[in-house]
Amino acid sequence: MTAPAIEPSDINLNNPGHFQREEFHELLRILRHRDPVHWNPPGEVSNGFWSITKYEDILFISRRPETFISSKGIAGPGIKPEKLAELDFAAQQQNAGGNASIITMDPPRHVKMRRLVNKGFTPRAVNAMEPEIRRITNEILDRIAGKGECDFVLEVASQLPLAVICGMMGVEQEDWPLMFELTNKVLGSGDPEYQTDIPEEERGTGQAARLTAMKGLQTMLEYFRGVLEDRRQHPRENDLPTILLEAEVDGEKLTEGDILQFCFLLIVAGNETTRNAISGGLQVLCQHPDQKRALVEDPSLMDTAVEEILRWTSPLHHMARTATQDVELRGKTIRAGDRVLMWYPSANRDEDVFPDPYRFDIRRTPNDHLAFGIGEHFCLGAGFARKELKVMFEELLRRFPDIEVVGPPERLRSTFINGIKHMPVRFTPER
């Protein structure tokens, strides 16, 4: 007897279990083939939303940042307006997005704010940082070199992006573990492992997730309030908090709230997603030993390998937008006020764009994936992510060519972040 076929109407993507158990690729494939503009009905607390699963449609939405805005929230379906009053402050904050950072900002202000910092993120700026990124990478690998085994996420993958972004933000090394912990609380808030401020018997609920995210956010903002206090007295060179303190938009200085949100965004976005691309990249290479061997033998394949790792892992499952007017898409009417979720792993396996999309191929060319989004909100840190991935895999495979994943990765419970929390690896130690 075969299992009954899953109908598009059975699919509810607002369920982190689908993502933790990696069922989401199959569900997204069904939607992409049979109902590419799919209405996901509301839950008890959360809004209904449209699931967008075709590459071309994500392009269409991303090119219209005035029609599909970010300021109503960029993660998940959001909470029903009538439920907001019943829930506490944390939920209201989450729905409103709190003070806006550039990720939840719309044109025209978004571009003006982004331009305050974007020169530090161009390919040219990133290339200038390459020697430093390589030095940090080898320091990280030195620490595991004699051990022969480790938790790859905690000891390797998380450490490089954390060090790079904390360096740019002037966060002292002793505080890097705190930044890691708070990032996990904010972006992994739905995972009981990070709900450490909640009594054990209450973990795993939506409310526990909202409170965890809020606690992480508040602690991080408090931390950066201290950093800003310091930089007002002691400005630094090449330091993002100093740049933001001195910056003006339309002739006005930024408010402290603006700057704090900016710092918060740069830290969390700068360390979580690249971590998961590194972990997921090693996982998929180990699942394809022939391609891993090819990459060890010919590191000149690294540029295309990095792009394929990005396509394959798609570190963010989705970004959300809210329609400001009625829009027709593939015969469906998206109404003004409706939330749309753009599912990047689906676009990155769209048969109309990628031949044989479920084949992992480190030589794939062209590879115009949407792992970083596209358009107005294209990932500011894409250049750093690419460079960190390239340098990490160059050094890792040079020093530990036989590194193997030796147990099932523990995946994050999240509809937003394609996260790996722990992944045991083994390798021949260096002498």
Binding site: R115, K119, T122, I374, G375, E376, F378, G383
Partner: protein, 64 residues
């Protein structure tokens, strides 16, 4: 067809230069410059459209 680059959007990824070096060049300030003033020769229109589609920031405008 004319081509324009929105300078406030361009972040110097250089996809346009790679795709259509006859039309685009990355300047010293990491902003892409359009090398052809006025209408594009017909044979370059397809390349311009490809660059438009690929630009990470969608900073290219095609004016019919």
């Amino acid at each position: 067809m004319k081509v324009r680059v929105k300078a406030d959007m361009c972040e110097g990824h250089g996809k346009c230069e790679k795709t259509a070096p006859e039309i685009f060049k990355l300047g010293d300030d990491d902003v892409s410059i359009v090398l052809i003033e006025g209408d594009l020769p017909k044979e370059l229109e397809e390349k311009a459209e490809r660059a438009y589609r690929l630009c990470p920031r969608q900073a290219i405008e095609l004016i019919p």
